[in-house]
């Protein structure tokens, strides 16, 4: 497992290998066949598989989501790609009222093997409508699966698993993670729902980092280590269904849970994780909790405001440190330049 490649390459390779393996897999979405090829994640697919299996669509998110569902009903395995998760708001009716419910409301007779890929943004002033991490909307709804892989290795395995899954899967990619490199086997493999990953063991505090915040949590781990605090870092990978057991066992050990989300905390993934851990532990373990996420405002574009909008490694480390201390210590680590280049090392 020595080959290292980028998250983009991992997504592209998963798509290509699955399309080669199964002729029912098709990939479409706005601009998937254009020169930029969705950051390169769809590069080369149209040349290899033709315009009927790989095509750019009209600007019709609502109808194209319905089209994808119709294809899935007919036995295809569509992968519908959106360059921004924000644009999924135009697909909500089809995703929430139809894709999620069809198997149930038709008495188990149909299935909707659909993958919806969408990207979250950050930085470069992407602002209010080009950056939102809205996956908690979909976690709320039974019948949908949600995955937000943070490493190239998981990106490939999760996309393969999502394509093979017989149910609708929201596959969430953070654009900063696209630049990450890491070990990715050339062979095809699946990372299925059901297993969160303990990325870093530690005994003092459990930090769950979602999507891009996994990277910031890993950086925070180093800041905390400098203070002698051992953080256990968990990547949930699949948000729905969620492997809560792995997180609960960790908190049983550490007694402290910090969930750092790449979204708002109110009614968000972090609220869900904390609530479920608290319910599981309330009779036997005293535990302390903290959530971090987007500031409860709209994402601004000025760099100084944006900086305050997002949690980062230092604010995460500070929050985790205070959880361990059991008080507001006021500690904030000095920036460490070496951590900026942090990449996923693996093997996992």
């Amino acid at each position: 497992m020595s080959r290292s490649c980028s998250y983009v390459d991992a997504v592209r390779e998963a798509s290509e290998q699955e399309m080669a393996r199964d002729p029912s897999v098709i990939v479409f979405g706005l601009d998937v066949d254009d020169p930029k090829a969705i950051q390169g994640t769809t590069r080369g697919l149209v040349e290899k598989f033709g315009e009927e299996r790989v095509f750019g669509t009209p600007l019709s998110e609502d109808a194209m989501t319905g089209v994808a569902i119709g294809m899935a009903l007919a036995g295809l395995r569509p992968v519908h790609v959106h360059i921004r998760m924000d644009f999924l708001m135009l697909s909500m009716n089809q995703l929430v009222n139809m894709a999620a419910k069809m198997r149930y409301m038709y008495g188990g007779q149909v299935s909707v093997p659909l993958v919806v890929r969408s990207m979250i943004g950050k930085s470069w002033g992407q602002g209010a409508q080009h950056s939102q991490g809205l996956y908690s909307f979909f976690m709320h709804v039974p019948g949908l699966k949600v995955v937000a892989p943070s490493t190239p290795y998981d990106a490939k395995g999760c996309l393969v698993a999502a394509i093979r899954d017989d149910n609708p899967v929201l596959f969430v990619e953070h654009r900063i993670l696209h630049f990450q490199r890491g070990p990715v086997p050339e062979k095809i493999y699946e990372i299925r729902p059901g297993r969160a990953r303990v990325v870093q063991e530690g005994r003092d505090v459990t930090i769950v980092g979602i999507s891009y915040m996994q990277l910031e949590a890993l950086r925070a781990h180093y800041y905390l280590a400098d203070q002698g605090v051992q953080a256990e870092i968990i990547d949930p990978i699949w948000l729905s269904p969620l492997d809560i057991d792995t997180i609960v066992s960790s908190v049983r050990k550490t007694g402290r849970l910090l969930v750092v989300d790449n979204g708002w905390t109110t009614c968000g993934a972090s609220a869900e994780i904390v609530a479920r851990v608290a319910e599981a532990l309330q009779d036997d373990e005293p535990a302390r909790f903290r959530r971090m996420g987007f500031a409860h405002v709209t994402c601004p574009t000025a760099p100084n405001l944006e900086e305050r909008f997002y949690p980062n490694a230092r604010t995460i480390a500070a929050a985790a440190y205070d959880l361990v201390q059991g008080r507001a210590s006021g500690w904030l680590p000095e920036p460490r330049e070496d951590l900026k280049a942090l990449e996923f090392k693996g093997p996992f």
Binding site: P58, G66, M98, R103, Y104, M105, Y106, G108
Partner: protein
């Protein structure tokens, strides 16, 4: 009427029309007893469109409809017993008691699930047609929806994509002129649904309230699609709902329409027109057979058990995968 039909065909058409009419009359009769467990949007008065279109289709052809799909379901060959059981909320229903009247489905006759959210199955039918074309299957897809659905953005998005990709799909707009209690002219800047479809470059026409006209025009179109003509095609079929929007009764007391407005539609009633062309003895036989079938279906629904409690948690996800 240009074509001639055999007596056997006329009998068959009548049988289909009368059967649907009688099933829904029986649904309306039973409804106040509260045995039917979901709201019913009756097609009474509109049966001719579904029957005429489905008479042009093969068993393998696929239809998508709306919450007002009792007629479509039966016309395409959907099972009557499991339909009534579904209306009763029973575990033997076509959706195991999880669907109700608004989400009828019958995969063996390729009635894809109906939806209660206006317009939502239109793009799904288009997607199905894309798959059919990709796999070069000799299948035609038909999408049924009301005049109100043509006001949804997804309608235009769907037509555009179907036309762009030249898909083997026929759009059937059942224009009964009303969305709930509001007339088309109070909702649409121009009452020109077929014209609006035509701007996407697809053949589109309006067909009067005439069973045979629908049969012929849709029949020619489906034949052409089977011979390889490029789709899509669009028909706006004029029709009229006799009962209230939802529920078993008439609704003239609400004042949004009058019996005078309805009278010409009643006078053209396809069930009566076709019935008059069937000899009395044969007609009596058809009707008594249907009465028996309906009795059996309602008995089946009455006697069927509720779904098991454990069903609440079944069918959220399909296990396994490709």
């Amino acid at each position: 009427m240009t074509r001639r039909y055999t007596e056997e065909q006329i009998r068959r058409f009548y049988r289909q029309l009368y059967r649907i009419r009688r099933v829904e009359e029986e649904v309306a009769r039973i409804y106040p007893s509260d045995k039917i467990k979901s709201p019913v949007h009756l097609s009474i008065g509109q049966e001719a469109v579904s029957v005429a279109v489905c008479e042009c289709l093969n068993p393998d052809d696929v239809v998508f409809g709306s919450y007002r799909s009792h007629a479509l379901y039966l016309a395409k060959g959907g099972d009557l017993k499991t339909m009534i059981a579904e209306l009763y909320g029973k575990g033997t229903g076509c959706g195991k008691g999880k669907a109700g009247s608004m989400h009828l489905i019958h995969l063996p006759s390729r009635v894809m699930g109906a939806s209660a959210v206006v317009g939502t199955t239109i793009p799904q039918a288009v997607g199905y047609a894309y798959a059919v074309k990709l796999r070069q299957e000799p299948v035609v897809v038909v999408s049924f929806f009301g005049d109100g659905a043509t006001e949804e953005g997804v309608f235009y998005e769907s037509l555009n994509f179907a036309a762009l990709k030249k898909l083997p799909i026929v759009f059937i707009c059942e224009n009964n002129q009303y969305a709930i209690h509001t007339h088309q002219s109070a909702r649409q800047a121009k009452c020109n649904i077929a014209e609006r479809a035509a701007v996407f470059g697809m053949p589109a026409e309006t067909i009067d309230d005439d069973f045979f006209a629908v049969l012929e025009r849709v029949g020619e179109t489906v034949d052409a699609l089977r011979k390889g003509a490029a789709g899509p095609f669009f028909f706006e079929c004029m029709t009229y709902r006799w009962k209230e929007h939802v529920g078993p009764d008439e609704d003239y007391h609400l004042g949004y329409r009058t019996p005078e407005e309805a009278a010409p539609w009643h006078a053209r009633d396809a069930v009566r027109v076709l019935g008059e062309r069937v000899p009395d003895a044969e007609r009596a036989k058809i009707e008594s057979d249907i009465e028996r079938e309906i009795r059996e279906a309602f008995d089946f629904a009455e006697q069927s058990p509720w779904p098991a409690d454990s069903e609440l948690f079944e069918d959220v996800f399909k296990e396994g995968g490709a």
